[in-house]
């Protein structure tokens, strides 16, 4: 068993890191530990945020919240829901696909930049993050950003920490903006499109002044595994509209009319819409109790289906698309085929792939994050050193 440290305050965490620095004891930072399939870094002791718990400030009228990093996401979302507010970026819950238990924390959500379907119009977790407090690798307590919506005072370090996967510093507190929950939501479904047709339909929809807030394509192979099989037969291209009831119904009609030329159009009500988009967010069809390799691939919207089409000629893949086609959830049959996948990502114009799931030995042997071009990797190493010169914080992201 590797030792687990659970500092109860930011000061205690800072002291711990400073002392560890003296003996060069490396840490692996954990929040709720929901990515339990990932092997811990060699010899690293676990530094958990579990003791840094609680909402520090919540001002619904200003649409901002400050919470300690170890605060369970559920607690944050429950407090927001009481005021009919929400996180705009729809944090992903991968416990189903990862087969892990843990309780996701707000710090872990920002550390992984975990963002769901609304991300392609409302931004990712990093876009909601206004300010952070953290302990760097020297054991110093540092703050960056603040609690106001607009802030360009100095370098935007909060962006660097969002999505840093525990590689730069221990986040101790995050301040983020929230949004009012939409009064209602509906989904327009276009049935029977192939991946290329669906990509064209989604691009058309995004060019209309109807404010689509979700655009996904669920090919026939996965469609039945969504919404309890309630979607019409054939592949489903789904477009979400949210807002005031009166406005949503007007926009839904407009969108349905515009999509009629692509295929058969139907509509899901608010209840089904909520379920469907949660399942899309969490890649529910792949919560299949297996450890078959699962990739999350981000490319240009029109490139998603090109990538999958190219891969299909070479290997067995199952896939569905979110973010107008630009987010591909890709499940491989047995081998992750990392080299093949990355070659094709490059061929379709670039992007990145993260391996979320595979057998532990495969995970350990694969580059789970997208390798960077040499010059970018060098910058990344220099930035890592600027936060953590002693290399105390071990993470798969920066090695």
């Amino acid at each position: 068993m590797t030792p687990i440290h659970e500092p109860l305050s930011e000061e205690a965490a800072a002291r711990l890191v400073m002392i560890a620095g003296l003996s060069a004891t490396p840490f692996s930072i954990s929040g709720g530990g929901t990515r339990s399939l990932l092997p811990a870094a060699d010899g690293a002791e676990q530094l958990s945020t579990r003791g840094l718990n609680g909402i520090v400030a919540y001002n619904p009228a200003e649409m901002t919240m400050t919470a300690r990093a170890g605060t369970p996401l559920e607690k944050v979302e429950a407090a927001l829901a009481e005021n009919r507010q929400m996180l705009a970026f729809e944090p992903v819950d991968l416990r189903g696909v990862l087969g892990s238990s843990g309780i996701p924390t707000i710090g872990g959500v920002f550390a992984t930049n975990a963002s769901g379907p609304r991300r392609f119009v409302a931004g990712a977790a990093r876009d909601s993050l206004l300010g952070v407090r953290f302990v760097n690798g020297k054991g110093e307590i540092v703050k960056a950003g603040g609690r106001v919506m607009k802030n360009v005072t100095g370098l935007d370090l909060a962006k660097l920490l969002a999505g840093s996967h525990g590689s730069l510093a221990l986040l101790t507190e995050v301040t983020f903006r929230v949004l009012p929950m939409p009064e209602t939501a509906v989904t327009i479904v276009i049935s029977g499109l192939n991946d290329a047709e669906a990509t064209a339909a989604m691009a058309t929809a995004m060019g209309l002044p109807v404010e689509v807030s979700g655009a996904a394509h669920l090919p026939e192979s996965v469609r039945g595994r969504f919404a309890g099989g309630a979607l019409p037969d054939g592949a489903a291209t789904v477009l979400r509209l949210e807002g005031l009831a009166a406005s949503v119904s007007v926009r839904a009609q407009k969108l349905a009319d515009a999509m009629a030329g692509f295929g058969a159009v139907s509509q899901c009500d608010a209840g089904l819409t909520q379920r469907l988009w949660r399942e899309i967010r969490d890649a529910a069809p792949y919560a299949d109790g297996t450890s078959r390799p699962l990739w999350r691939v981000s490319v240009a919207p029109t490139a998603g289906q090109q990538l999958v089409a190219a891969l299909r000629l070479e290997t067995g893949v199952d896939a569905f698309y979110d973010w107008q086609g630009g987010l591909v959830w890709l499940r491989m049959e047995s081998d992750p085929e990392a080299a093949l996948l990355r070659r094709y990502i490059k061929a379709v114009g670039g992007g990145h792939a993260t391996l979320l799931r595979a057998r532990p030995d495969v995970l350990a042997a694969t580059d789970i994050f997208q390798p960077q071009a040499d010059a970018v990797a060098a910058l990344q190493t220099a930035v890592k050193a600027s936060f953590d010169p002693g290399g105390l914080f071990r993470s798969r992201m920066t090695g």
Partner: protein, 478 residues
């Protein structure tokens, strides 16, 4: 008025001026290097005109490769570099120094690609902000961040400052609409960060380059998000008896979960200045005015307006004026967007840019008025109220050194007031030199040291825009 210091020019660079100019002439095509002192004058300052420095030379490259060649040269010989777009910075971000080569992006002003299927535009850094929207508007799209200077300012400068604008309340600022850049590092290395894919792998370097104020590298190309233009948009004027009431109304609208596209604020002096300039039809018998813009279909706009009018009623709104035509709407925005220019015609001014939590708006407006009165000056307030981003324009006479010194002192006090109210020194204009020496009011030594360490990771010798953002004393040895 010359209190803000620049770094001492490096004698080793000044003494080699002629060789440097000769070398740069060799590196660049004809007509791409400005070095005659007389011709350097247009580059000696930006929109923060109280300070000026003649640069050593100005390079106006036409390609990324040329930018790389100049940077590589300057890196090799330890010559400071100041990146420049249109020079509209209000914080002195683009003001050069005597030993610096300015790299201006004005010759790199092409729109390289518009990709509607992926909703992106890829442009060279010297393209103006408005040119992007102009290029895509016939197809029903626009580029959302809209600084009032959008006719002149460049996308490279917008990225440098992470600029905002009136419509950012709904659509976000530059960083939220930027997908990728081509960046030339100080040693001449060219890197691509991000692209048409939403998430780039690895650390979010793009996130820190945006708002990096030209200290991390030179952006030569950018890929930005295009947004479908709404069906309709309508600005509505709300007049109030006091600034405090107007400020409280803004907080209540947002607090009620209503997010219009824009909520802009003007107090009486600002209304008078803008109306005289633009004849926008602003009501003249009110103390404060809100321009609230809603968008969508007619029905949606009506519904949102009804809720806003109800809230404004609770704050004793005196005038609600809906515009009747597209021409009227355009005039309303013309008045607002020419506020700085119009002010500049009646007096010299410095523009503050602190952001405060919305609940603090009335308090900070009152405090601002007191501070300015104490210094015997006048102020006009015109700003992005929906996100708490204040712009007090402190009016003074630049020919009177005492007046100017008092204006600067008043500005500093106002910014401290913003920080103490839970806000920050600058919401969209950047730190530049203007707010550099106030940074310690907002940040601790450890906070600043961490930022400077990240800066040094990109530019270990501190050659890029070195007099800006971080207080000159207490810097790490380069």
């Amino acid at each position: 008025m010359d209190q803000i210091a620049f770094l001492e020019p490096r004698p080793a660079v000044l003494s080699r001026r002629r060789e440097i100019v000769a070398d740069l002439l060799d590196l660049l095509p004809e007509g791409c290097l400005v070095h005659e002192p007389r011709e350097l004058v247009p580059f000696e300052t930006d929109a923060f005109v109280s300070y000026r420095r003649l640069p050593l030379a100005v390079a106006l490259p036409e390609t990324t490769q040329q930018v790389a060649a100049v940077l590589k040269y300057c890196h090799r010989y330890g010559v400071p570099v100041v990146p420049r777009g249109a020079g509209t910075s209000l914080a002195g971000g683009a003001i050069p120094q005597e030993d610096a080569v300015v790299i201006g992006l004005s010759k790199m002003a092409q729109i390289l690609e518009v990709d509607f299927a992926n909703r992106t535009a890829t442009v060279q850094a010297g393209v103006t902000n408005l040119a992007i929207s102009d290029a895509v508007s016939a197809d029903g799209y626009f580029y959302a961040p809209d600084p009032s200077s959008q006719l002149a300012c460049t996308i490279g400068g917008n990225i440098g400052m992470n600029s905002g604008g009136a419509h950012c309340l709904k659509y976000g600022v530059t960083t939220n609409n930027l997908l990728g850049v081509k960046l030339v590092l100080i040693d001449g290395t060219i890197v691509d960060l991000g692209g048409k894919a939403l998430d780039a792998g690895g650390l979010d370097l793009l996130g820190v380059v945006c708002g990096g104020e030209g200290q991390l590298g030179i952006v030569t190309e950018a890929t930005v998000r295009l947004v479908a233009r709404p069906e309709g948009a309508r600005p509505v004027l709300f007049g109030f008896d006091s600034s405090e009431e107007a400020g409280a109304c803004v907080a209540d609208v947002i607090g009620a979960g209503i997010i219009p596209v824009a909520i802009e604020f003007m107090d009486k002096p600002a209304i008078e200045i803008c109306e005289a300039f633009a004849q926008a039809g602003y009501p003249m018998d009110v103390e404060a005015l809100l321009i609230v813009e809603v968008e969508g279909s007619e029905a949606e706009m009506d519904a949102m307006l009804a809720s806003i009018i109800e809230i404004a009623g609770r704050h004793g709104v005196k005038v609600v004026k809906e515009c009747q035509s597209a021409t009227e709407a355009a005039l309303i925005w013309k008045g607002r967007k020419s506020a700085f220019g119009a002010t500049g015609r009646i007096a010299d001014y410095i523009c503050m840019d602190g952001t405060v939590p919305l609940s603090q708006l009335p308090h900070v407006l009152r405090g601002t008025a007191e501070i300015v009165a104490k210094h015997g000056l006048r102020v006009a307030n015109v700003f992005h109220a929906g996100d708490g981003n204040m712009h007090p324009l402190i009016l003074f006479n630049a020919n009177d050194p005492d007046d100017a010194a008092r204006a600067e002192a008043a500005g500093n006090e106002i910014l401290k007031l913003c920080v103490d109210a839970g806000g920050c020194l600058t919401g969209e204009h950047g730190v530049g030199i203007e707010k550099r020496d106030l940074m310690r009011h907002q940040y601790s030594e450890a906070d600043l040291a961490q930022q400077m360490a990240v800066r040094a990771a990109f530019d270990p010798q501190w050659l890029l825009n070195p007099s800006k953002v971080f207080p000159l004393e207490g810097r790490p040895a380069a």
